[in-house]
């Protein structure tokens, strides 16, 4: 009715004026360092005489703010906050004065610096953006006074003051250098660097390091990069007598590596840098060696293609470090090889991919060449386990790093690793020392991904029985933990419908299930790994057909998993989570044979959920645990609903529980005041899908949580999931969703124009607009004037990707897809209505968008399919009104022809339909 329309208009316009022209930043999010928009200066900030007395007070406030006495601390913090709000320039200046003042206590100086730093940067992107704008708007005189205080502090005899100042200088540089401000900074840092006393030199190098971390390489010209690198590399060399200076220089290089593209392309300069790094890796100082190895790791991934001449030396250095050095250094030496594996795996995957060997980078096969020497070194590390590392979630030691690296080597070289590892396994697997048995098992588990099934299956067929028996009989839990994990890897990589020779047969299936279920009663870490193995066992039967070998054990498995969830120690080491995740997979991969058993599981899980809701007043700790449990139970229900909802026959039986389940979900929502439970939201999406139009009866109660989810900017996953649920509800309710659309649309449009919301949520929101339009048809009319301009400006923004990196192109394509799905939904929704003429004014722009993304030549297959479909929708809905317009577009000729001859069946199908629709529009 007209009344509704008016109220909608009022609500929208009251909430967001920038709606019709969203700034690019709102859609694209913040990527790295961006230009500031011109903002008028606020004259009130310009004059600010700073009373000395304030600076005096500041010292005391800063000390009080670190007091042990909570009330003193609180009062000081409040005063500082008040000071900042009343006069920001004076506040910042007095902090910099405090930091620079050698007469002040080290504690107040350090805190002054930290507060200053926090006034320039924040973790949240939108907050960071605000702070950057605020600094840029500040009076130039004040800023230059602050900066000179900061630079002065770099030569302070107090180490904390120097170090804090170095960080703040880098933050200011991070803001100003991209704006071409503070051009003299690098020059002034580097002038006379050789004449400086060591402590000042150290602070200067530290500043350069932080600066390279803060500033993007394109904000510093090559001349300055050369100067920085020269100073840094000289500082690193063995001729530098002061170890503090040398350490600061190596750490600075770590951050400066990203600036050194040009220098790494110059043979002489690269040779020099590499020599200095390798020398430092052999230093007597542990900290210097560690920092040097960190540089090598970073070089491995950044400059892989330049490494060939240095690999012999690096191999010697890393091998020595793995065998002889302290653990922190040895870990980095192993990490160097893990990084090399990462690089080669990426390159080889690209070779194998559709790009027909056209990788940008050639594979140098370093791992293959080093294999015979590298593998024994890694195998040695496996014997250096710590007692109880299997119980300690945070543990990370040389044995773990070595095994992880061995796994990566296996993925890199494939079959070649097997003969190098087998003797080690055979020799150690039956030894009385648990370390040897565990190392052998771990080695076996590590090489299961990479080599071909042909190579591994015969070995696994021999080993399987041994593993099953070790899992129940080995006296050491560490060995059992690794054995269960290895079984999981066997099932993950060698069991499934794609395997030629099955490793699980009617002969051993029962034994495997029995052993795994028995293991679930073992200590939590072993039980958890057994659940994991069962997860992959079930997954291997995912597309087994109408009858699954697990059917006879289904009930027993479910019962055992539920028993695990009730163990008193189920909270340890994610055991309960592992049990529910496995239950989910068992349900997902079940067949129709066990559909009734899955149905019987519904009231069981419902009861579990009900019981968690009965608790009395909960402490915040208990509340957190309850939230986790809700997540697991809602997740499980979601999987069951999706399973049963997929076929009409099973859905029928499930529907009897729908009311009660929805009631439980609503109670789960009610447990959280400020936000909604993501898992419950996901589950509700599946429920709506299963219920269809019936879901309408839940809407009155559910709606407020839907709105709450759409408002959750902070936890963007929640927002994203909720947007998906809106789509589910639209498809389920169709035009019965209409009464809720004003609210939903308001929220979605707000989300689109928010700069707080993570950019990844925006493409699905556009798609969701299409879902709504398709559901309510011509009733979408009242939203056209808001939705269309937003789509239009988003389309303009996403039409071109010139100069964007791969990640940006991928995002742009997802944005295009969302926009196009919105257009499709709207066009289809208006089809056959009396109001199609309302869309005619938008047609030229839609066509222009299609033409421009076609010309851009960087859309992915999905966008191509959606785009060509939109062209057909346009012709189909607008008919002869758009005939000429369409005929004159590039899309209707070249783009359509390209799609018609596409090898992708779904693109071709859409294109053929579009051709038919256009023919009709033109001939009408």
């Amino acid at each position: 009715s007209f009344g509704v329309r008016l109220s909608f208009v009022r609500r929208v316009s009251a909430h967001f004026s920038p709606l019709l022209s969203p700034a690019p930043a709102l859609l694209l999010g913040f990527s790295g360092h961006r230009r500031a928009s011109p903002i008028c200066r606020d004259t009130s900030l310009q004059s600010s005489p700073i009373p000395y007395i304030m600076a005096m007070e500041v010292t005391q406030l800063l000390l009080n703010a670190q007091s042990i006495d909570g009330s003193v601390r609180k009062q000081a913090e409040d005063s500082l906050k008040q000071f900042q709000e009343q006069n920001l320039p004076a506040f910042l200046f007095s902090l910099s004065g405090e930091l620079a003042n050698e007469d002040k206590p080290a504690d107040s100086r350090k805190l002054a610096g930290l507060i200053l730093k926090n006034a320039l940067d924040a973790k949240e992107q939108h907050r960071k953006f605000e702070l950057v704008q605020r600094w840029l708007m500040l009076d130039a005189t004040v800023k230059s006074q602050i900066k000179s205080c900061l630079l002065k502090t770099l030569s302070s005899p107090v180490p904390d003051a120097r170090s804090t100042a170095a960080q703040v200088v880098a933050k200011v540089a991070g803001i100003e250098l991209p704006q071409k401000q503070w051009p003299e900074l690098i020059g002034s840092l580097l002038s006379n660097v050789h004449q400086l006393p060591p402590h000042v030199k150290q602070a200067t190098l530290e500043t350069l390091g932080y600066l390279c971390e803060e500033v993007s390489p394109d904000a510093v010209d090559q001349d300055n990069v050369n100067k920085i690198l020269t100073v840094v590399v000289q500082g690193m060399s063995s001729s530098e007598g002061n170890n503090d200076v040398r350490l600061a220089a190596i750490r600075a290089l770590y951050n400066a590596l990203g600036f050194a593209q040009a220098n790494f392309s110059n043979d002489m300069e690269r040779d020099y840098i590499m020599r200095v790094v390798c020398e430092a890796a052999l230093s007597k100082e542990e900290k210097i060696r560690l920092a040097a190895f960190e540089c090598l790791v970073s070089i491995a991934s950044m400059y892989y293609e330049k490494l060939t001449p240095y690999m012999n030396d690096i191999f010697t250095i890393t091998a020595k470090a793995v065998r002889e050095d302290v653990e922190s250094v040895a870990l980095q030496a192993i990490e160097f090889w893990s990084s090399i594996c990462d690089e080669e795996i990426d390159i080889l995957e690209e070779y194998a991919g559709e790009f027909t060997g056209d990788s940008d980078v050639q594979c140098s096969y370093f791992v293959k060449q080093a294999l015979n020497v590298l593998v024994p070194i890694l195998l040695e590390t496996l014997l250096k386990q710590e007692e109880d590392q299997d119980q300690d979630e945070g543990a990370w030691n040389i044995a773990m790093a070595g095994g992880t690296c061995l796994g990566l080597v296996a993925r890199t070289v494939g079959d070649d690793i097997v003969p190098l590892v087998m003797p080690f396994i055979e020799e150690n697997i039956t030894k009385p020392d648990w370390r040897q048995r565990e190392a052998a098992t771990y080695a076996f588990g590590s090489i299961l991904e990479g080599p071909s099934p042909d190579k591994l299956t015969p070995i696994v067929n021999v080993a399987l029985n041994f593993m099953l028996s070790a899992l129940t009989k080995d006296p050491n839990t560490h060995v059992k933990d690794t054995t269960a994990w290895t079984l999981g890897r066997i099932f993950e990589f060698l069991h499934g419908s794609t395997m030629d020779a099955p490793i699980i047969t009617p002969a051993n299936c029962q034994q495997i299930v029995t052993v795994l279920l028995q293991s679930m009663t073992d200590v939590p870490n072993v039980a958890g790994k057994a659940c994991g193995a069962l997860y992959f066992l079930a997954q291997g039967y995912e597309d087994v057909g109408p009858s699954s070998p697990l059917t006879p054990y289904f009930q027993e498995i479910v019962q055992a998993l539920l028993t695990v969830t009730h163990r008193e120690d189920a909270g340890e080491g994610r055991l309960r989570t592992a049990a529910y995740e496995t239950l989910n997979e068992v349900v997902r991969c079940s067949t129709e044979e066990t559909a009734t058993l899955v149905l019987q599981l519904v009231p069981v899980i419902m009861l579990e959920l009900h019981n968690t809701l009965e608790g009395q007043k909960l402490s915040s700790d208990e509340r957190e645990k309850q939230g986790e449990l809700h997540g697991l139970l809602c997740g499980c229900l979601q999987v069951i609903i999706q399973k049963l909802g997929a076929s009409d026959q099973t859905k029928y039986g499930f529907m009897q529980f729908a009311d009660q389940i929805m009631g439980l979900f609503l109670r789960v929502f009610a447990c959280k005041s400020a936000t909604v439970h993501e898992e419950a939201m996901l589950a509700i999406g599946s429920l709506a899908y299963a219920c269809g139009p019936e879901f309408a009866k839940y809407m009155p109660e559910f709606y407020k949580y839907l709105e709450m989810g759409l408002q959750n900017f902070e936890e963007y996953q929640v927002c994203s999931v909720t947007v998906g649920v809106v789509g589910d509800i639209c498809r389920a309710l169709e035009n019965k969703v209409l009464p809720y659309c004003d609210g939903i649309m308001t929220q979605l449009l707000k989300d689109l124009s928010s700069n707080q919301l993570h950019r990844s949520v925006k493409p699905p929101i556009f798609s969701c607009l299409g879902d709504i339009a398709l559901a309510i048809g011509q009733d979408f009319e009242k939203y056209l004037m808001y939705a269309m301009p937003m789509l239009q400006s988003a389309a303009e923004l996403s039409a071109h990707t010139a100069g964007a990196d791969d990640e940006m192109i991928e995002y742009t394509n997802s944005l295009r897809n969302g926009i196009l799905e919105a257009y499709s939904g709207i066009l289809q929704g208006f089809k056959n209505s009396t109001k199609t003429q309302l869309l005619i004014p938008y047609a030229p722009h839609i066509l222009q968008f299609l033409d421009s993304i076609y010309v851009e030549k960087d859309m992915d297959d999905l966008v191509m399919r959606t785009a060509i479909g939109v062209l057909g929708d346009l012709a189909d809905t607008l008919g002869s009104n758009a005939g000429t317009m369409i005929q004159n577009s590039v899309s209707s000729r070249d783009f359509l022809n390209e799609c018609l001859s596409s090898e992708d069946g779904s693109i071709k199908e859409s294109a053929e339909w579009t051709k038919l629709a256009i023919t009709r529009a033109i001939s009408a």
Binding site: A401, G631, Q638, D876
Partner: protein, 397 residues
């Protein structure tokens, strides 16, 4: 320059189950969205291919996708589906004069009172859709592929479509015609073949048997062949709502057809005269007509019959658009005919019809209702025609 953390995941599955749930959900949603849009497009392409049907090039191309898309159409949703289904059913004209050869060329049977619907069985489900496209029931049935039983009852994607009337009283689907069976289309078969086939197939599958777990409603074929007096007077297990006359040689044709006719009088139907929204028979006969761009008020026939005209000022004043359905009363001036053709109608505008309306009235309906109020076609008239020997003699030359 915080030292980098090189810790790698250890003995963990790379993907969390929650992430997997999210991804599977996204996949399902993307697929549903794609399906929903494809449904709209498939529907459109069916309609396009039917409309663009040209006598020479497309005959065999068109026949094939037509029933195939009906199977898809059974999964369609929303307004589109309503419009689509509304166009698929064969709609009898109202009998305003008696066809020749009534006894020879026409079946006559008592029409069950109830909800006219298309019953589509495919993929293990049976769905009945009413004339406006809305789903009446979704249930397992013994029709081929009509239920998910252990033994497949037909090729996986075969489907059957029956033209039925659901009778509330005995919860039975009375089958009046068969459109597709087990994946074969019978659109282009004559009625006598369709009826014969229907009877034997219903028996064969057990669809005419009593309800059971895999067969929720009984299907029962109406008796087509007993002749006029039996159809008019014999007791039926269902409440009668008039008589249907089907031409034996006619193919199944979507939309209004003069080869199927409906007739009723007060003895064989509770509803002879149309009622208004309150269930009362209004003093003046009411008709629903479609407004055209030029102001003409037309019937749903193809080609349409023009019953009157609204002037543009009036249309603007009422806020009407072309395509709207409007309700009019027939004033005392009534309808005047010249040589069997409508010459003039004395109409009075009443108002706009509700949104749910998909059709204007057909010419035959308006005229039948008009006659029913003034000079009805009686059972005796029909009986005379039925007893008349065949008029045409075979011509040899």
């Amino acid at each position: 320059m915080a030292p980098p953390d090189f810790r790698r995941p250890f003995k963990r599955a790379a993907v969390s189950d929650q992430q997997r749930r999210r991804e599977l959900t996204l996949q399902r949603q993307a697929q549903s969205r794609h399906d929903a849009q494809q449904r709209v497009r498939n529907l459109a392409s069916t309609i396009i291919s039917l409309q663009s049907q040209e006598p020479d090039d497309a005959a065999d191309v068109v026949l094939e996708p037509y029933p195939l898309d009906i199977r898809r159409a059974s999964r369609m949703r929303g307004e589109q589906v309503r419009n689509w289904f509304a166009r698929q059913l064969m709609l009898p004209e109202w009998m305003i004069d008696i066809p020749d050869n009534l006894s020879q060329d026409w079946y006559v049977f008592a029409r069950p009172a109830g909800k006219r619907c298309f019953v589509v069985a495919s993929n293990g489900t049976t769905v009945s859709r009413q004339r406006n496209g809305s789903i009446l029931h979704c249930f397992p049935s013994a029709l081929p592929n009509g239920a998910k039983t252990r033994e497949p009852s037909g090729p996986a994607h075969s489907y059957s479509i029956l033209d039925c009337i659901f009778h509330e009283g005995d919860q039975t689907y009375y089958v009046i015609d068969m459109v597709c069976w087990g994946g074969c289309s019978y659109y282009d078969c004559p009625a006598d073949f369709r009826f014969y086939w229907l009877n034997s197939k219903l028996e064969e599958t057990g669809a005419s048997g009593p309800p059971s777990y895999y067969h929720k409603y009984r299907f029962s074929a109406v008796t087509h062949e007993k002749g006029l007096p039996a159809a008019y007077t014999d007791a039926t297990p269902y409440v009668k709502d008039g008589l249907l006359f089907y031409n034996k040689h006619a193919h199944y044709q979507s939309g209004n057809t003069p080869l199927a006719l409906v007739w009723k009088d007060a003895k064989c139907s509770q509803y002879v005269l149309d009622t208004d929204s309150t269930g009362e028979v209004p003093d003046q006969q009411q008709v629903v007509l479609e407004l055209q761009e030029d102001g003409n008020l037309i019937t749903s026939d193809d080609p349409p019959i023009i019953f009157g005209r609204l002037n543009s000022e009036f249309i603007q004043q009422l806020g009407l658009h072309s395509g709207n359905f409007v309700r009019c009363a027939i004033n005392d001036g009534g309808l005047s005919f010249v040589e069997g053709k409508l010459e003039k109608a004395d109409l009075k505008y009443i108002g706009k019809c509700s949104r749910g309306r998909a059709f204007a009235d057909s010419y035959s309906k308006v005229v039948f209702q008009y006659m029913a109020r003034h000079s009805p076609l009686t059972y005796d008239d029909l009986l005379v025609a039925a007893n008349k020997p065949p008029s045409d003699v075979e011509m040899a030359g």
